[in-house]
């Protein structure tokens, strides 16, 4: 048996003497005359060993390097905050305890739930916001996707007032201000469908949500004035 020695690392290759009885492993077997590694032009190399753990506690460092460090970060809601978390740590947070959107004397709200088929769109119902002439000051939307949907399939489009379409994933929140009896600084929910006789096109105003994926999506939308 031939020992090929490169620096501190020994590679055991087979030799002709063990050719008939060894395994097929070219590196450690005894049955082949081939060397384990072709030394090539630079046959010598150095291998440095680092002692990474002297005791059990030191193994945490190894685990941190090769496993825990790659754990994903999340944005999530808990403790009345929007938190960026990693493992058990909260890296940063946006405190939500002081958020307050008041219910005023003229206020109303509406909660709508849709199950959107693949490749379809829905017009958000404009509801009964007569006191603010169709305006709302708060919109909260939550989408629940098919469990097998990949990350890139967890998306919807939303369009407001006939302008550009924008994207939404699991959650969305919009806000503004409303005023009793006036159009003020909110979001207009009126669908603004053409009154032309025979018009069969889509609404151009308000909110339109589209599901471009191949799965059903459950969408819940809260609107409040």
């Amino acid at each position: 048996m031939v020992n090929i020695t490169g620096g501190d690392l020994d590679i055991y290759g087979g030799d002709s003497g063990g050719g008939s009885t060894g395994s097929n492993n070219p590196f450690f077997g005894l049955g082949t005359a081939k060397v384990g590694l072709d030394p090539g032009l630079t046959a010598s190399f150095e291998t440095q060993y680092t002692l990474v753990a002297l005791n059990e506690a030191g193994l945490n460092r190894v685990n941190l390097t090769f496993s825990d460090f790659n754990d994903p970060h999340y944005v999530s809601f808990y403790n009345t905050s929007m938190n960026v978390s990693w493992q058990a740590e909260t890296l940063d947070k946006l405190n939500l305890s002081d958020f307050f959107y008041p219910v005023q004397s003229f206020s109303g709200y509406q909660m709508q739930t849709f199950v959107m088929s693949p490749n379809t769109s829905i017009n958000l119902d404009q509801g009964d916001f007569d006191t603010t002439l169709g305006e709302i000051g708060l919109l909260v939307a939550r989408a629940q996707f098919y469990a097998d949907a990949t990350e890139n399939q967890r998306m919807l489009y939303w369009q407001y007032g006939g302008s550009d379409r924008y994207i939404m994933a699991d959650f969305m929140m919009l806000s503004g201000q409303v005023k009793n009896g006036q159009v003020w600084k909110g979001w207009q929910t009126s669908n603004d469908v053409s009154s032309e006789i025979g018009y069969t096109g889509a609404a151009t105003g308000g909110f339109i949500f589209s599901n471009p994926t191949e799965y059903q999506v459950k969408l819940m939308v809260l609107t409040a004035s």
Partner: protein
Amino acid sequence: MATRPIICPPIPANGWIFFKSNFGLEEDYANTTFFNLKDLNFGVVSYSRLRITLKRTKSIKLSQTDIATEGFVRWIAVKVQYPAPKNPILYAAQTPIIPGVPTPTNGTPQIQKYIYWTYRGNTYNLGDMMVLTGNPLGSTDSEVTGWNLSQDNFLYSDGGIIFQNPHTDFDVKLEVLVAK
């Protein structure tokens, strides 16, 4: 001997609030949950946390090119803080001016709690809070999707969100969380 009048805090107003992992309506001391956000874990790779003072009549452009994928991010959360009452206990209470006690103010009137945000030339209103989400690469479309926060002078142009404080009499503070 005269004593200071006892001022009872007013009955809390009804409204929409976040409470723990829930979002709901607080009405007459009862909470009704409309959204349970406990299971909402939005995986991100990098994030940025900003605190901005937006002076009266000024604008600021939010650009986070460095943490974005081709300029696009997945999560934008903006909370706006308006000038608060000097004494929250006295908020909305009809109280006389008491010597030695700061003069109560009601802070910012509710109808004045708005600013503007502009994205790709379209301007919208923003009250107290906004959360925008998306995926930077949609598999259903060939175009790159998401919220573009790249700077104009970079390769991926047409990005960024401009926040404008239209008020002439008070500044606002923005708390921003951007994640990819």
